[in-house]
Assembly symmetry: C2
Homo-oligomer: 213 residues x 2
Amino acid sequence: MRLSELSEQSGVPTATIKYYLREGLLPPGERVTATTSSYDEAHLRRLRLVRALIQVGRLPVATVREVLAHADNEELGRTMRLGAALWELPSAPEPELPAADYARAEEVVAQLLARLGWSSAQELAALSPSHRSLVVALATLTGLGYPFPDERLVPYAELMHQAASMDLDFMETLPGEAAKVEGALVGTVLFEPVLTALRRLAQEEESVRRYGV
Amino acid sequence: MRLSELSEQSGVPTATIKYYLREGLLPPGERVTATTSSYDEAHLRRLRLVRALIQVGRLPVATVREVLAHADNEELGRTMRLGAALWELPSAPEPELPAADYARAEEVVAQLLARLGWSSAQELAALSPSHRSLVVALATLTGLGYPFPDERLVPYAELMHQAASMDLDFMETLPGEAAKVEGALVGTVLFEPVLTALRRLAQEEESVRRYGV
């Protein structure tokens, strides 16, 4: 398809597409004449992803470039392609808390992973921003006077493991490695607000069932 | 306990506690002499909640006052006390999307609730900010070219229903109605980053198990 069709199908203005091409967020099309190029489904998919990461993930252009470079690195195995891409995502600022709150939270997470038998997560602990986010979230709650012992976290972690399995099951239905990695990125970043809203809605439903309006 | 002890036990500076007292976020203590008052466990609990809502929930003081006024309204049933408090929480800004994307997302949510048999959530749909958040999140995904049909959402909603039931089970163990409502507020707002981190960690664990590093 031509640039104008790519714009029409994606809803992204042609000027923005040209900007993404210049910045290397979108691979060049196939040159047809001196002034026109042709684009395919892979361009359309990549364009949607770039727009999603910028608009919903609120990533700066330079970060999107890093994320995509990892996602496109065919020398890496799937976990590392995905992991490296996700690990480029910005994490929430870490609040200033007493060192003891952080130490306690690290201990709780270590015990939680041991209870769950998540040995890969244990091995990756020092590297993984997700591990760090969990420590920060729990340290914050502890600092506020709401400590969560690891045994209370186990059933929530097991639910999230079921969700993660469904995420990967869906990813595997996508055709081709590039689509799989992109689908996983979208699923992780953009599906989070959906899950948060579903939980609040489920709380309302369950509250009415138990206590009436 | 005295103001200085309240400060020590909560980690909140006395000047901040006095500010919360002036702003009505914290009920006055029991007057002991002309210049000193005495505070109890309920003050400590309330102080922790106020600080959590301001620091982690990033709520403005005026919003915290509204949230607490609903939570403290003993004329309401538990669902409405909780619901009204949660409904004061600020929601994410709504992106400008074609009306068709919003209409499609509303239809998907209606079908999802029907499939789930969440009749209370259906009845409260027009009122509930959680319902609106879900519509906005799905409309955003649709607008970006990633539509989620209701049948793909059902298993995630069921997992979130299990999480919500555990949330309420825990709330019921808290002593007294005020602690219950406060515990539910904390659980909803502050536990969201914990669940998000658990999901990403579970994805890493599951990815290594399936595909290696």
